[in-house]
Symmetry: C2
Subunit: 155 residues, 2 copies
DNA sequence: CTCTGTGCAAACACTTTGCAGCTAA
DNA sequence: TTAGCTGCAAAGTGTTTGCACAGAG
């Protein structure tokens, strides 16, 4: 994720789809149309959608897909490391297929999640002596507050 | 919920309860036995309990309290800033009344949340020019992985 | 006395599970 | 062929809401 994160052109999409296909093979997962469609929908957006949101999107291409399949697939994606569950506050799970270094800003009012990137935050690490036997898999900086839109209508 | 952190002695509890009472008055909230009991239970533990967990604890003192009241009270606590919802991955909400500087380690397997404190993480701040009109209310470092217990039984 | 807070039950939202038929490999 | 995947329906969890009564201020 170096150049233009927002603009995902056709070539990049094809590349990522190929990479995902390969990852499925490695993990021993079948390459089904539904699985591809769910991954593609997640990869093409920067809205950190919930299962429901992905469902609505994928449905346009696969009208017969079920919400369960979307749910299951999203969980599978995060299990094989093709996506992850965005840190939240106990609402519906939100997913992100952008594996590049970035951080999230979460609006506590409208629940919108917006990416930002501050280089120093990529290198954050917990000192060994503080991990207390824990195996660290992921470290993130979470920022929450009011987004530009919601700030205006604050009481 | 049983382990009493060595740092919370009787005197400190009384102090915190008094401060909370004051905070309720400021916020125009009534000081009810249930509200006090919920706050006290949350304050006395370092387990970052869910509503259900707080409910089970408070019930010992107030056998007639309802889960709804616990839920409502916990939300109220986070609204007036006496507690907050711990960042998670879309599971049940977990609460924390410890407002002091600290960070969380979250086990992705057993969902245990453990505090740690690394001074530099207290001073993390997003540069103005990256906030894009957002009002930052809280910034945290979230660390997730496998805890010491779960690491052993990993496949 | 007044108005918030509480308990109860029902409604809701989100996720998970069991199963039969389908399909990629 | 066959192991894994999908769609459907039902059940499970966690949270929210409407209402009447109780109790703090």
């Amino acid at each position: 994720m170096s150049g233009t994160p927002e603009t995902t052109d056709g070539k990049e999409i094809t590349q990522k789809m190929d990479a995902f296909r390969a990852r499925c093979h490695e993990a021993g997962l079948k390459v089904t149309p539904q699985r591809m469609a769910v991954y593609r929908a997640l990869m093409e957006t920067d809205e950190h959608p919930s299962a429901e949101m992905v469902f609505r999107q994928v449905r346009r291409v696969h009208p017969s897909i079920s919400l369960d399949t979307v749910n299951r697939t999203l969980l599978t994606l995060s299990e094989i490391g093709a996506a992850f569950i965005v840190e939240g506050s106990g609402d519906a799970k939100r997913f992100d297929a952008n594996l590049g270094n970035h951080q999230h800003f979460r609006c506590v009012r409208c629940r919108r999640i917006v990416d930002f990137h501050y280089e120093p935050f990529d290198r954050i690490a917990v000192p060994e002596n503080l991990t207390g036997g824990f195996t660290v898999l992921r470290t993130t900086v979470c920022v929450e507050g009011l987004c530009d839109r919601c700030r205006l209508q604050e009481s």
